[in-house]
Point group: C2
């Protein structure tokens, strides 16, 4: 392996190590000649600064932690997590940060994880997925003063920097569309109602209904867990109330819902129109192409990291907010608008 040291490079170039350090760190005060010479030797030798030495003296580790509270099954089943991980990985990769992953299964892991991430000189900042489990970590993190951005709206939002997508409005629009296309009995299969994302998407559904003078019918609402199975079970419930359109809070649940329909001889969109949520690049075979709300997951990862870096560099005050837009994608499981 490459065991060169700053000093070695300096010697080879016949300059001091201060100068070498300056060209590496792009300081302005270096003569063109020196800069080029050093640069060339670095390129030739493949020299890289020692990560730990640099971290020690500059007080920056250039690594961020990604904390994922992971309810039992969802980490396997829900494409959200791999998508998110991929988005963050990409963002890190292009900004020269690296990220380390922490999986938090139960409340008990909180103490252990907190202990680890609060090692000095270890992490420059934290990305924390909001969740009914993870949110209890937030207070400790805030107190510890480590740069933090929460992914998704946290329960307590006071003075916390977070990034989210516009769940409420996007679902509201989707349900608006159902109404515009002449549906009368519109149901929903929600996400888990102990998470903000579950709550917000349900709120969007209710907003649209109330706005249009519909009454909210509890028999048309089922609570799911984002999984295919829960979509299936939820749909079996809702079908008793004869819906003509259903919004499901994830694409996976839409799949399950259509399976339930299929078993009952029903088809989308003729019998029941369906709109899902996510539009991750998944294959959803066996059914008509799904109308859905597209969530910009790459952008989400990118913006989240950008926000965190901003906090790292410029301090935690004031709290940042970013809300990303979604897009309603109409495909085969919804009726066409008439005009």
């Amino acid at each position: 392996m490459n065991n060169l040291t700053l000093e070695d490079i300096a010697e080879q170039c016949g300059v001091s190590r201060s100068t070498v350090s300056r060209v590496i760190n792009n300081h302005p005060n270096v003569s063109k000649k020196a800069r080029m010479l050093v640069q060339e030797v670095i390129n030739q030798t493949g020299y890289q600064p020692h990560a730990a030495a640099r971290a020690l003296v500059s007080n920056r580790s250039w690594t961020v932690g990604l904390i994922l509270p992971r309810s039992v099954n969802s980490f396997f089943t829900d494409p959200y997590y791999p998508s998110l991980i991929q988005g963050i990985a990409q963002a890190c990769s292009s900004s020269d940060y690296t990220f380390t992953l922490f999986l938090m299964r139960e409340k008990e892991d909180e103490e252990r994880i907190f202990h680890r991430i609060s090692r000095r000189g270890f992490l420059d900042g934290i990305l924390l997925q909001s969740d009914n489990i993870g949110d209890s970590l937030i207070d400790k993190l805030i107190l510890s003063d480590i740069p933090l951005t929460v992914l998704g709206r946290p329960f307590k939002s006071g003075n916390i920097s977070f990034i989210d997508i516009n769940n409420v409005e996007s679902v509201e629009k989707a349900v608006d569309y159902f109404i515009e296309t002449e549906h009368k009995r519109i149901g929903t299969i929600t996400g888990p109602l102990n998470t903000t994302v579950g709550i917000d998407r349900k709120q969007g559904y209710m907003n649209s209904l109330l706005k249009h003078g519909f009454t909210v019918d509890k028999d048309l609402i089922a609570e799911g867990t984002f999984t295919e199975e829960s979509g299936y079970l939820g749909m079996l419930e809702i079908l008793k109330a004869k819906p003509d359109a259903v919004f499901t809070a994830s694409d996976q649940m839409a799949l399950g819902a259509m399976r339930a329909m299929s078993e009952n001889g029903l088809r989308a969109p003729d019998d029941v129109a369906i709109i899902g949520f996510d539009d991750f690049p998944l294959q959803m075979p066996a059914y008509p192409p799904l109308s859905t709300i597209r969530q910009p997951i790459d952008e989400f990862g990118n913006e989240a990291l950008r926000m965190l870096i901003d906090i790292i560099e410029n301090g935690t005050e004031p709290a940042r907010r970013v809300i990303l837009k979604t897009e309603l994608i109409l495909r085969g499981t919804t009726r066409k608008r008439i005009n």
Copy 2:
């Protein structure tokens, strides 16, 4: 945040920083009295050594890299990756290592990733998922002398430490079981044949057939990509050759295969018996419970990290090998043995 330094603790205890360092690192030469005193102050203050300072002087970063070559869709669809990540995360968590994740999408990422991971003082070792993309990294990694363990059998195995499961034998046994339960036309949907895992599982299938004097019928073999969709398409092919049993190299493909059967009015195990591979804790609704080969993914993560740590601590020679056992789980998609 906690900004205490070794020296602060030393001062509070009225001892030298050498002594404090010794109790932290569990050196034997500390008096009981001093040890207890220091320990207590540490507990009270919540002092933690500065990660970078420690890494610099001890030449150990206590972090390992996990490199996942990720073919376009599979990272989202294949529960193998989240399962693996979880296994490694758990293993790291209990051994006080942390891991950073690198996603390698294309051959082009290789250079970039290699550059990053070869920063001195950054990673103590690498876990690399074997794959037709990732394997080209191996040579460079070996040359660079960084501790490396490959997950899954690499194409070139000379002098490379790796961990794998016994793919060949476990599939052989599964197909043996088909034969014992009176099947005559046994097909397979393989994994991608540009990966060792795909090749090995197909080999197991052929071994069993040949051992029992069956002829290998190309019309009973389809190549898949581990996804549901590819299982579906593969099964449509194979069905033309009238199989009475099919081994699929992943559970996802088994799902797809059963969907194809279902569309053709066929059921498992009566019309076609099915055995899958994985048995990750997934929900596979809508079909009879799947007979499958259980892959011990948690143990896999654990053993992989243990091997890597061994290499880090004791050097890369000689190359290590670990082959984990699998288990044939007979459930609803296979016939019962008669006696």
